[in-house]
């Protein structure tokens, strides 16, 4: 899909996941046993054949860069194009751009040099398997200036509160963009539009001292633009709080959401060369997701174990998420806990959180 280029804009994504985002941005938060949130949007783009992808980052992006490298795991290590991680560089005193427009203004080269004429713009908090080829097709056929992607959610949850809502007529035309909490059509922070049109609107915003592209260029001008709406009905999760992170992770322990997310089109992530998970004689593991490199001798129930987690004999883990390389010694007990990477829990220690408010343990703690 040489027509399309990708922009993943993390600028307005706040670090809302407490301990999990103390030292990393939201896009780098580990998810579903072996991925990071960024993997889903990136895989959707590469699965649609997009090979020019820019990533606008502002804060705490060290672990994100470590994860993405030169983009090899996503086949984005290209001679021409590929993955561009674009951190801020705002030393030009004559630059008057503000907010997320600064990124575009300072990286115009990316837009001019990339071969595609149309762009996909996305954040990383909405996890989906949206088929961007189809969105692009609808966008082209409808002749819209911009096509917004939304999901009609069956059940509104707390994490949807922060999301914008889209109202569309039968022809797929957006009639309103608003913030009414009881409206089910959640805007997925994902749109497709002509690259040059986008740049024109950005320039206009900068000239008028504006700072936020979506609010100032799209929402403000919604009567003057032809805005299309793409209705997405597949797997969807919004991760914008510890509670939503926990609830959506736990949902993957049901077979249907698990298959909806993983059955078709691979989600790619950084390759680690781990051994398959090993379940020892005394292991008792049920209703869980387990990644490679794990070594389990204890009891694990209704939990997610990331790569390389060790669970000692007699340990009991339930309703919990254990990130990479956590070590749980013998007879320790964990319930309703999210453990960041490299946490070491000593023999016999008990940690219990509430099922609605999991206990979050920061990276590399030794308890």
């Amino acid at each position: 899909m040489k027509d399309l280029i990708g922009v993943i804009n993390l600028d307005d994504e706040l670090d809302q996941l407490n301990e999990l985002t103390y030292f990393r941005c939201g896009a780098a938060v580990p998810f579903a046993g072996r991925y990071r949130l960024i993997d889903f949007v990136l895989s959707n783009m590469t699965n649609a054949g997009i090979v020019d992808i820019a990533l606008f980052v502002r804060r705490k992006y060290r672990s994100l860069m470590d994860h993405l490298g030169e983009g090899k795991s996503w086949d984005l290590d290209r001679n021409h194009g590929g993955l561009f991680i674009l951190p801020p560089d705002w030393n030009d005193p004559t630059d008057i751009s503000l907010g997320d427009l600064q990124h575009v203004h300072n990286n115009l080269d990316f837009f001019y040099r990339s071969s595609g004429s149309c762009m996909v713009h996305s954040g990383s908090r909405h996890i989906s398997k949206v088929n961007l080829r189809e969105v692009y097709k609808q966008h082209k056929e409808s002749g819209a200036d911009i096509t917004l992607v939304y999901k009609p959610v069956a059940e509104l949850r707390p994490e949807h509160e922060a999301c914008l809502r889209i109202e569309a007529d039968e022809q797929g035309q957006v009639t309103d963009i608003h913030h009414e909490l009881n409206h089910p059509n959640v805007y997925m922070e994902l749109f497709i539009m002509d690259k040059y049109k986008y740049l024109e609107l950005v320039k206009d915003c900068i000239a008028h001292g504006k700072s936020q592209f979506f609010r100032d260029a799209i929402q403000e001008n919604r009567d003057r633009l032809k805005i299309g709406a793409y209705r997405y009905t597949g797997y969807h999760a919004v991760i914008n709080s510890v509670e939503s992170y926990f609830a959506n992770s736990m949902e993957l322990l049901q077979r249907e959401p698990y298959e909806d997310l993983f059955r078709e089109n691979p989600i790619r992530t950084k390759i680690k060369y781990e051994v398959p998970a090993k379940y020892l004689e005394q292991a008792d593991v049920r209703g869980s997701l387990v990644a490679n490199g794990c070594m389990i001798a204890g009891q694990v129930e209704n939990s997610i174990l990331f790569r390389g987690v060790q669970v000692g004999k007699g340990a009991r883990i339930s309703n919990s998420i254990l990130m990479q390389k956590c070590i749980i010694e013998e007879n320790a007990v964990i319930e309703n806990v999210i453990m960041d990477k490299d946490v070491h829990l000593s023999r016999g220690v008990t940690l219990v959180g509430d099922s609605r408010k999991p206990f979050v343990i920061a990276k590399s703690s030794h308890i």
Partner: protein, 387 residues
């Protein structure tokens, strides 16, 4: 570009004794250990030993092997001025023929080796499971100023009759080589790992080529020829885990060896990872009704039922009420409900219909489930699953 060592990996073998597993697959490409192929072991060993130039000699069913190795990036062997080179037999001005034997395969690639002008050439085979630092062997080889160093492992007297046995003096210098002796004089078995001084190897390969009765094999011809010419040969003792996985039984056994609590072959060493091509699968789904003990399960599996003392490769599905015991299930096998599988190796992509029973709990025989078995071939299986 001068190199100290160039490795030549013999990967052309058919592996007849692996029966259906190698019907359309060269032996080094056979699966092992839940996520690997056999060739991952020598390739990873080369990378960890700092050997960045590896020629891989292929012949039998090379398609999977060639595409698997690719440019070698999974083993960090996509290097400038080196890396991995796949070397199939090729036509030349003086005609064309297949590789006649292990030595002939190297002989036909003299030009390949020559361009690196190496001091030493390491000859490896692609059908053994082991972790070995070839640098240690090189140090020994240089210390002894050896012309040819052969890595050996101590085996039992009974086993010795199956191997090439080296008889050495006290300083480990070799005076005799016996291929599969009836009455072995020693228990030092050749591991099929040879380190040669390049100039010596080159000379004797050319020499051997002139002998019409030769079978052009390292064990049968080159080593005896070196001994006959009073060359300095040494045995390098290796005492780690090493397994020739040439038969269904030994392949099954080597897999089972991984299942004890602290296996002799530690695959979980962060400083000696065995690299392999990532299948890119999600974390495995262990259903609430699953019962797992003493097993290894790779990502992408969806497991209901019971898995005991077994290895599941990626993408395997196990239906409700099924029991898998003492078995190795290759990638993407779909196992229906209430299936019983005992002591079996199930080849990739098979579909096992509901209620099938394979193998028996108290038999010693290892069953190979392959597409030539009409009851469980992928097509028949899919049909049965529909019903």
């Amino acid at each position: 570009m001068k190199k100290e060592v160039v490795a030549m990996l013999l990967a052309g073998g058919q592996g007849k004794r692996l029966k259906g597993l190698t019907r359309s697959l060269a032996k080094p490409a056979v699966y092992f250990g839940g996520t690997y192929r056999i060739i991952d072991f020598p390739l990873s060993n080369c990378t960890h030993s700092g050997i960045d130039t590896v020629g891989v000699l292929t012949q039998y069913e090379p398609l999977v092997l060639h595409s698997y190795i690719g440019v070698g990036s999974d083993w960090d062997l996509d290097r400038r001025g080196g890396g991995v080179y796949v070397l199939p037999p090729h036509e030349r001005e003086d005609g064309s023929s297949w590789y006649q034997g292990t030595a002939d395969a190297i002989y036909r690639n003299l030009n390949f080796i020559e361009q690196f002008d190496p001091e030493h050439v390491l000859v490896l085979s692609g059908d053994h499971i082991y972790k070995m630092d070839y640098n240690e062997m090189l140090r020994f080889h240089k210390e002894k100023d050896s012309d040819c160093t052969i890595s050996v492992i101590d085996v039992t007297v009974q086993e010795a009759t199956r191997f090439g046995i080296l008889n050495t003096r006290e300083d480990l210098s070799i005076y005799e080589f016996e291929e599969k002796p009836q009455a072995p004089k020693s228990t030092l078995a050749s591991m099929g790992i040879y380190l040669f001084k390049w100039d010596v190897l080159k000379r004797f390969l050319i020499e051997d080529k002139k002998i019409e009765t030769s079978s052009y094999d390292f064990g049968k011809d080159i080593i005896p020829l070196l001994l006959a010419n009073q060359k300095k040969l040494y045995a390098y003792p290796f005492d780690g885990y090493w397994k020739d996985v040439g038969t269904i039984q030994s392949l099954w056994q080597a897999n089972m060896d991984l299942l004890c609590e602290e296996p002799e072959l530690n695959l979980n060493d962060p400083f000696w990872r065995i690299y392999t091509k990532s299948p890119n699968q999600p974390a495995e789904f262990i259903a609430p009704d699953a019962k797992l003990s003493n097993c290894m399960i790779n990502e992408g599996c969806v497991v209901h039922g019971e898995v005991k003392h077994s290895i599941l490769f990626y993408g395997v599905e196990v239906g409700e009420g099924s029991v898998i015991k003492d078995s190795v299930i290759h990638p993407k096998v779909k196992i229906g409900r209430n299936v019983r599988i005992y002591k079996a190796i199930v080849n990739e992509n098979m579909v096992i219909p509901d209620g099938t029973v394979i193998g028996s709990e108290d038999s010693d025989e290892i069953v190979l489930v392959n597409s030539d078995d009409p009851a469980v071939s992928p097509e028949a299986g899919r049909e049965a699953m529909k019903r």
